[in-house]
Amino acid sequence: MELNVLLFASWSDALGPNVTVHVPAVATVRDVLEAVLARAGGLALPTPLVAVNHRYAKPESPVRAGDEVALIPPVAGG
């Protein structure tokens, strides 16, 4: 399936505010992350976490069509 992934901070600077990636129909967070990393080419970017529908998700969590998926680079709020 095609999946739109939101990007922020240095990732957004490098690749734009979102990218569309192809992942298996039965995909996991890990699949999505690998697909986005492949897009990043040789760029040095900080390791992100992944959020699915506004919650942090584990690498083995499923991702389904229609989920809101985002890469979360190291946060620095407060």
Partner: protein, 146 residues
């Protein structure tokens, strides 16, 4: 209990009033401000940005955890986004509680969890004209190597 991502100047007195109650013996306020020096570099300002809906949701969950843990719903958090100058407040956490110890402990819990979990980013502006994302816990992935 109220948490919000806002784009206006924060008002400590208003947030303190909001949590105040005659059932409280103590109120605490935590104010995070833009500091002139960070890791030896001269800072002139900071851009704060967020993944808005998730930041709102995560702040709400953290406040709900604090309520359960410390036994007060008198918690207000406002996090500001946008370009802030030196000394301006980026976050205010207000808590009030019948007793002082949990009023202080809840304050600490809230700021630590927010710093760890809420998807907000800052880009510092330096006196030499450069700007950089602050990535406190960053390892670096070689893109494409995964």
């Amino acid at each position: 209990m109220r948490t919000a991502i806002v784009e206006h100047v924060l008002d400590p007195a208003a947030l303190l009033d909001e949590v105040a109650s005659t059932d409280s013996g103590a109120s605490t306020l935590f104010v995070g401000t833009v500091r002139r020096v960070n890791e030896g570099r001269d800072v002139t300002g900071i851009d704060y940005s967020a993944y808005g809906p998730m930041a709102e949701s995560e702040m709400g969950m953290i406040a709900a955890e604090a309520e359960k843990r410390f036994g007060t719903s008198r918690i207000v958090v406002e996090h500001r986004l946008g370009t802030l100058t030196l000394g301006e407040a980026s976050i205010i956490i207000a808590v009030s509680h019948p007793r002082r110890a949990p009023a202080i402990e809840a304050q600490r819990f809230l700021i630590e969890e927010i710093k760890k979990r809420v998807p907000v980013w800052k880009r510092e502006h330096y006196a030499d004209g450069t700007r950089e994302w602050v990535e406190p816990t960053a390892g670096v992935v070689a893109g494409g190597a995964a």
